[in-house]
Symmetry: C2
Subunit: 381 residues, 2 copies
Amino acid sequence: MSSPRLGFEVQAAIADAEGTPRARACRLTLPGSRGNAHEILTPMFMPVGTAGTVKAMTTAELRSIGAQIILGNTYHLYLRPGHERVERLGELHKFMNWDGPILTDSGGFQVFSLAGLNKIDDEGVTFQSHIDGSSHRFTPELSMEIQRALASDIVMAFDECPPYPATPEQVRAAMKRTVKWAERGLEVPMKPHQTRFGIIQGGLYEELRAQSAREITALPFDGFAIGGLSIGETPELMQKMAYYTAPLLPQDKPRYLMGVGRPEDLVEGVRAGIDLFDCVMPTRNARNGQLFTSRGKVNIKNSKYADDPAPLDPECPCEACTQYSRAYLRHLFIAGEVLSARLNTLHNLTYYIRLMGQMRSAILENRFDDWTKAFYTKLRT
Amino acid sequence: MSSPRLGFEVQAAIADAEGTPRARACRLTLPGSRGNAHEILTPMFMPVGTAGTVKAMTTAELRSIGAQIILGNTYHLYLRPGHERVERLGELHKFMNWDGPILTDSGGFQVFSLAGLNKIDDEGVTFQSHIDGSSHRFTPELSMEIQRALASDIVMAFDECPPYPATPEQVRAAMKRTVKWAERGLEVPMKPHQTRFGIIQGGLYEELRAQSAREITALPFDGFAIGGLSIGETPELMQKMAYYTAPLLPQDKPRYLMGVGRPEDLVEGVRAGIDLFDCVMPTRNARNGQLFTSRGKVNIKNSKYADDPAPLDPECPCEACTQYSRAYLRHLFIAGEVLSARLNTLHNLTYYIRLMGQMRSAILENRFDDWTKAFYTKLRT
């Protein structure tokens, strides 16, 4: 069932105590929309470019810090500026000036979490725009058509993500609907370079996760995502469910844990056997002054940094850490300067992407457990 | 009376119909605070870095677009983060990571225009912080001490800028006080690399401008600024007064027109014989979506740009113009994205700095009148 469009090679994998291959370093190739084939070396974090821009960054900066793939949001781009407009203007890559690969989500998660009153039926979801309250309807078919117009490299299936907490009956119904919607989406033809990922649902119920994994992986997707996590449950429950679900997905296809998470969650995700991650945390928290460093979190607005001449993170090679002091970064944040959002975002994304690179090296050099221990030790000093 | 600290050479000057030297290309040298001598080729525009940052820009970007000198605001930096803190952290250049020259204003204009209720007497000005309403007092001496702590390369005298409109009596009183404050400021010792500019006041009254110029230029300043313009009067009146005042200033010292202005105002200022300019217009208007181009102003939020694939200004080499469409710039503005402020600011500053470079070349090649005609023709097409 493997698509010739997506190439995937497991370069190294580390088995757990039961002999199950877990943490892995992979090479993913995509044909690209203009004959510019893409390569992604995993584990990798995908910065979130919600509305055709990774907030506060230029694409040149994203390239410079090692971002290999970014995410675009179907829901946001459909509402504004409109997917047909983006297509007329040369598709999403050209519109936003990013020549690397783009993954688009299906819009499913946003219509449930962001949009106003939504009404779900077997055919699709009717919802109100969070921008102007106007009424819209997404179906699995329309989600594919939008993603086709955007011309992303990886297209996500349209799924139903039940809220947390939810009863087993609610989660089962959403899981079953997600399978049907996945099948309907697969009937919609996409552009030649586009590949597709299916989404596993099932909430925090192992039995439902297992059933979802069986049914979704039976479909001809190029990769698989674990959805429906990081929506309010504790990090421990999230990590446990990712650890349970990851080995239920094929060894020879990429695995993506959606919407996760904190640095520790990425480490635990990689340990579980996940290849790809996305989350708004590094970008959103940056704008709120919360910075991730090799020694743990820094809340840059704290008055203790007002006279601190030290770099934010002495181990970080980014412009914020090599060119400025904590005192200056605090000043920018307190003064509400645009440069605060810029430098903080640049730093947090650099931290996340370097973290993935360190894990990849550790896996390739068969020292992932040691690396993980050192990571936690340093984080807690 | 010329200070050995500031070097100044008029490389070319164009005489008006009466034979008065007017538009000129000059070379200004400053010793720098760390043995890094600075050169400024005029006419030049100085981007405004109010609170230790030119809003939305990094200093690396400022260098890349040809900015040769930037401005810092004494009033803002005194209030936040505090000039003594900036000095402890290595002075303003190091704090904000800018190794080129910095001009600091005296805080005079801000305490009259930005601060809450202010009370002026011969000794100084008592005012309320626009940030928290706290009470503060500036004197000519304190203004010098703040600028000494910041360690700017060009220090501005503390002046009284009367409002517009004002009676001749009000303007005369402020003008006389400005002379006394200039003398008092000159008594305060500065750091060895620092140079000082005096400020001409006199409102829109030629007689008072002439008297102010006589009295201020008799003092041992390294350069002279025309203050008290662009505060509400029409552009025509502003241009007329700058044209009247410029030749009253010494030929062998730099001339600076404070707070001006629109591209046309810069052209008329250079025509009058001005060397240096500063204004928040390119940076502030950028954040409001008003962009300056070789064909006139573009209000990027206008719906007519929603599907426009063309570059903002086909003649501009900046990242916003070479990498993105008008449609994308409009989308970013409408969506309230940080990248909108970034790209718009980068473009407007590039436009302003290139405009100055074009005028400099035209003066050096003795074709300034032709250049000016072509500038206006194109602007109005």
